[in-house]
């Protein structure tokens, strides 16, 4: 599985994102009590902490308490899974500066992982063909330029009507089958999946097969073998699709790209990246976002009363939830950030969730407030890799949230909030399912 999303290059952030360890094994450092010293440099005697994970152990929407405790300084040393001593950026300004700086590389083979990822080698191989998230300029620029024209604000807005139609179809089916539904299965996953089908030009006849494979790949309960098999099947399908588009181009991204000098393998790989980046990310924003709104009734009521707030609410939910996190970079040369030197070869873990809760940038950051100006959040990354699909993600969320609230005025959780199953071991945070119910009209 490629990791990332829209790395910036596709629909939500860049990664690779570290999998969280299994429940209960949250890594905490010995010194997680916020120390208020103003000392900037770490003394040799101080053992750097490891990356705190496990949002599911506290409020499901907040960063782990240990991470918040480490956010007293914008940048600090961090101990990596393989023993590497690198850095952790938690301050918004520091994170933004690092992501914008070409002296930091995105190449997977240069990165150290902050926490061990089961099944992933300690030393990452270079990015697979088509996964532009793991490339630097000029290779990255060449690929990205072939794609950016397909993802403009104008083009994505033109897809609004289709998003509205898919959303209405999903809501119709949900209403007919209900009350009670799993929002993940009924709405959050199908809408982004259908939009990816539209982009890639997956024929209607193939969409069931496509959707069922996608469901297995992202099924947190499925075993690795089943998921790997589904992913291989999907890549196989994408290869077939590329050949079909070469033979008979239609109006979609893959057909467009067949006119470029990209190979079939590159095209299929790019298709896989768009899927990996554009589906799970948006699906989790929709489901976790609904959970967050249901947990903040005043915010939900405000959005239901004024759907014109949707654009702003989407930005705030992106900031507040930070589902794709963290983003990793490796210094290609010595770089000074916030008065500290990051040495050539050292990895920096940019904590999107911490940066998005930086009180210097967002006052009262732990409050979900859909009236705030949340632009400038780092949930789509920043810099040359900033999410390519972000405008599509915005359109999808701005359509789905208000439509859902309007369709079900009595929408509520069908289980106590603490029983909503959270994703504990995934590179994209969210809920495994979201049981909801409503009163029949």
């Amino acid at each position: 599985m490629p990791y990332d999303p829209p790395d910036t290059d596709t629909t939500t952030v860049d990664s690779p994102t570290a999998d969280t360890p299994t429940a209960g094994s949250t890594t905490t450092a010995d010194n997680t009590t916020a120390d208020t010293t103003t000392e900037i440099t770490t003394t040799a005697a101080e053992e750097p902490p490891t990356l705190p994970t496990g949002r599911h152990t506290g409020c499901p929407f907040d960063p782990p308490a240990e991470l918040t405790a480490l956010s007293d300084r914008p940048l600090r040393r961090l101990r990596y899974a393989d023993g590497h001593t690198g850095h952790l950026a938690t301050g918004h300004a520091a994170a933004r500066a690092i992501l914008a700086d070409p002296r930091f590389s995105s190449r997977y083979e240069l990165l150290h992982m902050p926490v061990p990822v089961p099944g992933m080698p300690a030393e990452l191989p270079p990015a697979p063909v088509g996964d532009i998230t793991g490339l630097d300029a000029p290779e990255h620029t060449r690929y990205r330029r072939l794609l950016t024209g397909r993802f403009t604000v104008r083009r994505m807005r033109q897809l609004t009507e289709r998003v509205e139609r898919f959303t209405a179809e999903c809501l119709d089916a949900m209403e007919q089958a209900g009350p009670t539904a799993d929002l993940v299965e009924a709405l959050a996953q199908p809408v982004p999946a259908l939009m990816i089908c539209e982009l890639l030009g997956v024929p209607y006849a193939d969409r069931d097969r496509f959707q069922s494979q996608v469901a297995v790949i992202f099924d947190q309960a499925a075993d690795a073998e089943a998921r790997g098999g589904a992913y291989a099947g999907l890549l196989q399908y994408l290869n077939e699709l590329v050949l079909a588009k070469r033979a008979e181009p239609t109006d979609d991204l893959l057909s467009d790209l067949t006119a470029s000098d990209l190979t079939d393998e590159e095209l299929a790989g790019i298709g896989g990246l768009l899927l990996a980046a554009g589906l799970d990310t948006t699906a989790n924003m929709l489901a976790l976002g609904t959970f967050a709104l249901l947990s903040n009734p005043d915010q939900l009521d405000a959005l239901r009363a004024d759907p014109g707030l949707a654009g702003q609410a989407v930005e705030e939910l992106l900031r507040y939830l930070s589902v794709a996190d963290p983003i990793l970079r490796a210094a290609l040369e010595d770089v000074e950030v916030e008065g500290e030197t990051i040495r050539a070869g050292e990895t920096v873990t940019v904590s999107v969730q911490a940066a998005n809760r930086d009180p210097l940038r967002f006052p009262d950051p732990d409050r979900l407030d859909i009236h705030r100006k949340a632009t400038g959040h780092l949930s789509f990354g920043h810099g040359a890799h900033q999410c390519l699909g972000q405008q599509l993600a915005r359109v999808e969320m701005a359509v789905v949230f208000p439509a859902l609230l309007a369709r079900f005025p009595t929408l509520r959780l069908a289980v106590p909030p603490q029983e909503v199953p959270l994703r504990e071991r995934s590179n994209i945070y969210g809920v495994i399912s979201l049981p909801v119910t409503w009163d029949e009209a």
């Binding site: 604000v153 083009r155 632009t375 789509f380 972000q390 405008q391 915005r394």
Partner: protein, 80 residues
Amino acid sequence: MSDRHEPLRIEVDRDRCAGAGMCALTAPEVFDQDDEEGLVVLLRPDPPPEHRPTARMAAGLCPAGAITVGENGDAERAGP
């Protein structure tokens, strides 16, 4: 900065542009994207006062630092 009388000079660098669309989203009266590569197109190098705040915000949000806002003759690139 008195926006009312000082001329504003915006410049864009299409070589740096990453095609993320933040400028066209934030200040559509000032910035657009071309349909081929999705790269920034500057519609108004000297936007009228009512569009200046969003133009400055767009410069600050640009992920690639491709937008420069110059005032009083000295251009300064916003962002990184």
